[in-house]
Amino acid sequence: MTTFQARTHTVTLTERLKDATNVALIAILLGIPMIGLHTVDAGGKLMVATRWPWLLAFVATMFFGRLALQFAIDQFKLKRLTRQRTRTLEVATPRPWLKWLGYGLLGFSLVLPIAFSDNRYVVDTATTVLIYVMLGWGLNVVVGLAGLLDLGYVAFYAVGAYSYALLSTQFGWNFWETLPVAGALAALFGILLGWPTLRLRGDYLAIVTLGFGEIIRVILINWTEFSGGPNGIGSIERPSFFGLPFKPDSDDGATFASFFGLEYASEHRVIFLYYLILVLALLTNLFIARLRKLPVGLAWEAVREDEVACKALGMNVTNVKLSAFAIGAMLGGFAGVFFAARQGFISPESFVFSESATILAIVVLGGMGSQFGVVIAASLLVILPELGRDFSEYRMLLFGAAMILIMVWKPGGLISRREPSKVLAGVEK
């Protein structure tokens, strides 16, 4: 046993060095045209400049990084092997700490604006997190549960946002009147897009949704009379507290501050908006948790697992997919309405592909299908860039890298454990 180990070890060392050298060679080839050389603007004309030290640093990083990685893999090899054997999801034993963590987070989110009442920035950031949580939950229905890759989710977000912006500025509709209409409109868009494409293979859907997201943006930019073009739509009506506006004083009657006998403060609205999105998000969560236990929720997951088997059991797979697509779109639409109401101004800038990618990253990172994972991932992806502001230009780069690494490391995401939605009572586990 010992001799065997010793032998493998020596072989490994030289092999590891060779392997790392190969990686370094590849790194040189990749690095020369991108890092080693670059073109700079020299008075209207391009000039080639060099950055050899950077290239050297890059190649060295790759060499030693590879060595370290392989070393780590060697160390954990045993662990990895056992994990692979039981790869298809462990039996879902309930994890009480996760549940308690969930309740803890819920409690924290309820008292957050009170705890940070003097810190508007924290409440604002928390609101942003909640918007992404809601978007993540919506997309999770499509990607995580039904297994449909939607790369243009931001389009439905845009439909919601523009619905509210237009209906409120043109027709004077308020937030609560618009909410269901915008949701229905987004769902309708989802159905119109999904109907021709959902019967096709998965990767076609991905491209079509990607294209759809682009098209919506192109239309918003160019159809100036309708959408205000690149300038967007401004002075959108902000939501009021059951008819009481958040204003210093109002021409016709009471404001929120005067009604409750408070001194006007701009924080009132910030806090109200926070609670509004919290309520919307919690309702979304409740809604999805319920749907998951209904036939339609089970059907979504079954379609994700095996479409052919679903057909053989008499399930209309296209309809099942459409329902997931429409419900996901509707939730995106709701989030869009809130976004427009919160910002008071929207433009096509807010609905670019990187936004879709962010939401997808939240779902993937969190663990596809896991509601709780989405919360963790959304918090991470919003708060980390806020903490390292100087880092922000690397944000998308790190996103991309994280998406690859997480898929390779854990194709199921951070929380990949699935809780069964039906349990036979009186039977083990």
Binding site: L30, T39, V40, V208, V218, F399, A401, P411
Partner: protein, 304 residues
């Protein structure tokens, strides 16, 4: 009429570029049955590298056009092929047995990564270069409208046709092509027969990247400007072209590219340039609805 023919020529040129990129999609799809989501960005990387190479050659005083063109093509193809290889190695190979969604997502991650990497290392600014092959043939004049075919346009169209012929030959006649088609049918069995499946797949990605590299060089010379974001839309259109022609079919990819290119060119000229992307996309939806196997593709029966 003159205007019409001019748009036809412009459309053919543009379509050839889409066709070249679409060939890469189709080849990769043919072997692993999956879309290479990072392919558009590989094309973008190639275009950026070609800017560097062309600038460098000019600085070195190599001004003979054929020589400069050959060197640029070879150098860019070589570097881009390494990028193609890396994409497969990092984003696809570890996930070959994973659920279908996983490699798609890792490839999207790769696409985002490449785009932002180029933005960071090469800058976000548009990169202009001088016209490498100025000059044109004035074909004829019609109603005072002179129809022309620039040298660059001619080169692009010729290169595309030649490459299509070469690649069709490679896939249908050589042993590499046979190995590739065998992998498409059954990877396990192909491996048992002694074919190096990993190598075949890697080589396919590299060939696809090389084709994208040619497209990247052509576009750089044709338009004279490139930036880090061109991969996204071009990739989308080339994919549309591949589906339109029938994904998996090489002539189909080029045919699809030509159709998309011409649609776009005519749409811009006669309708509205702003909505040319919408036209291509609408066409994609129509094709998927009425002929999901594309113009030249074989309808596929799912084996159960």
């Amino acid at each position: 009429m003159g205007q019409f023919i001019q748009q036809l020529i412009n459309g053919l040129t543009l379509g050839s570029v889409y066709g070249l990129i679409a060939l890469g999609y189709t080849m990769v799809y043919g072997i692993i049955g999956m879309i290479n989501f990072a392919h558009g960005d590989i094309y973008m990387v190639a275009a950026i590298i070609s800017v560097t190479v062309i600038t460098l050659l000019a600085a070195l005083g190599i001004s003979a056009v054929p020589l400069a063109l050959m060197v640029t093509l070879l150098v860019v193809m070589a570097f881009t092929a390494v990028y193609g290889w890396s994409v497969e190695r990092v984003a696809y190979r570890p996930l070959r047995t994973a659920p279908r969604l996983a490699p798609l997502i890792s490839a999207i991650g790769m696409s985002i990564f490449l785009q932002n990497m180029v933005q960071l290392t090469q800058g976000a600014r548009v990169k202009p270069i001088a016209d490498m092959m100025p000059g044109q043939f004035n074909l004829f004049t019609f109603d005072g409208f002179t129809v022309f075919l620039s040298y660059t346009q001619l080169m692009i169209i010729v290169v595309t046709v030649v490459l299509l012929a070469i690649f069709t030959y490679i896939i249908t006649r050589t042993s590499f092509g046979r190995q590739q088609r065998a992998c498409e049918q059954d990877q396990t069995m192909t491996a048992l027969l002694g074919v190096n499946v990993d190598r075949t797949i890697s080589l396919t990605f590299m060939l696809g990247a090389a084709l994208a590299a040619i497209a990247g060089v052509m576009v750089t010379i044709y338009y004279g400007v490139v930036d880090f974001a061109i991969g996204f839309v071009a990739g989308l259109k080339a994919f549309t072209a591949a589906v339109l022609g029938g994904i998996g079919s090489l002539p189909g990819a080029v045919l699809g590219g030509l159709i998309i290119g011409m649609l776009e060119s005519f749409w811009s000229a006669y309708y509205s340039p702003e909505y040319k992307d919408v036209a291509g996309f609408a066409l994609l939806i129509l094709v998927l609805m009425f002929r999901p196997s594309g113009l030249l593709g074989r309808p596929e029966v799912e084996k159960v």
